[in-house]
Subunit: 190 residues, 2 copies
């Protein structure tokens, strides 16, 4: 493989060429929000894009580095903010690094044992997601949340564990502010 | 290890806490520039900082991710721009990713066989350094060149190979512009 350079727009997060884009609309987020009625209403109204990810393709091999730009748009489903699905790495002992570039967010982290951490994301935030921590990103501001993410080439994705159990906590808006509350639909591993 | 967040200043590149800083002055760059007289003059005058790197410490283990912010200051030694020492990874089959945040630079890349590539660095540039490519960064602008870099936890550094052989090319200023020229001091591997 030859060295390569791509260009991201630091304001919009877009990578016009050299990357593939994954778009997640409200209709892709079924089962992930508490307020199903609000989600159905949103889907029927205009099914907005909740987030999109620009991936630069590299070999899925140990020693290589996957990297992408994520843009989470501002918005809510009921009182829950727009967020990513959240996942573990298929290879659990792999880390991930985020660099926050624009907007205001929360990084929600959880181990399979149910430990929880929440970190702030802001322009210039350097976040380290150590091995074994599942992660979800939440836009708690009113502009796009844009960040650059890097993870090992052979990390892989496991979305099923989060889909099956959920996160123990959710981030909702209360009196105009983000608040961490228990997720009534959390199903702990037995 | 717990998840963690650090703060970088996107304008200056500084990471005020949570990172260790490596400072390379002109006196640390002996043998790397063609014009030794110019380098000695610079050292005697004020021995300026050529570049500095803020490293966030994580375990040096496969699956983890080293990450750092590099700042290369504007300046020249004779007609050669301020630049990093340049290195290979000790574990050759590991990649590196850069995200350009400020300034104007060139990324000079070379394999052990002597293949050369040069890529532009600019705000929003996403650069991929594939496995087996040694790399050096050069500030060809008149403001600090700031970029975020990520590489595998077990990549390691090999500075000796570059010190012993040099890069085949150097980047010099000609009529106010950066130009790639042959390095008369390049010593190819036999």
């Amino acid at each position: 493989m030859k060295p390569l350079v791509n260009r991201m727009d630091l304001l919009t997060g877009e990578v016009p060429s050299g990357a593939t884009v994954v778009i997640r609309r409200a209709s892709d987020m079924k089962g992930l929000y508490q307020n199903r009625v609000a989600l159905e209403g949103l889907i029927k109204a205009k099914d907005p894009v909740v987030y999109q990810v620009y991936n630069v393709a590299v070999p899925e091999r140990n020693g290589e580095l996957q990297h992408c730009v994520s843009i989470i748009y501002p918005g809510k489903v009921g009182d829950e903010y727009f967020m990513t699905k959240g996942h573990f790495h298929a290879r659990r002992d792999t880390a991930e690094v985020y660099l926050g570039l624009r907007g205001k967010g929360k990084l929600l982290l959880q181990t399979e044992k149910g430990e929880i951490e929440v970190l702030d994301m802001f322009p210039g935030s350097i976040l380290y997601i150590p091995p074994y921590w599942g992660h979800r990103t939440v836009n708690v501001g009113d502009e796009p949340l844009i960040f650059f993410a890097i993870y090992p080439g052979d990390a892989g994705h496991d979305y099923q564990t989060i889909e099956a159990h959920g996160f123990r906590k959710v981030i909702v808006e209360r009196d105009g502010k983000p608040v961490l509350v228990d997720n009534p639909n959390y199903r702990p591993s037995t």
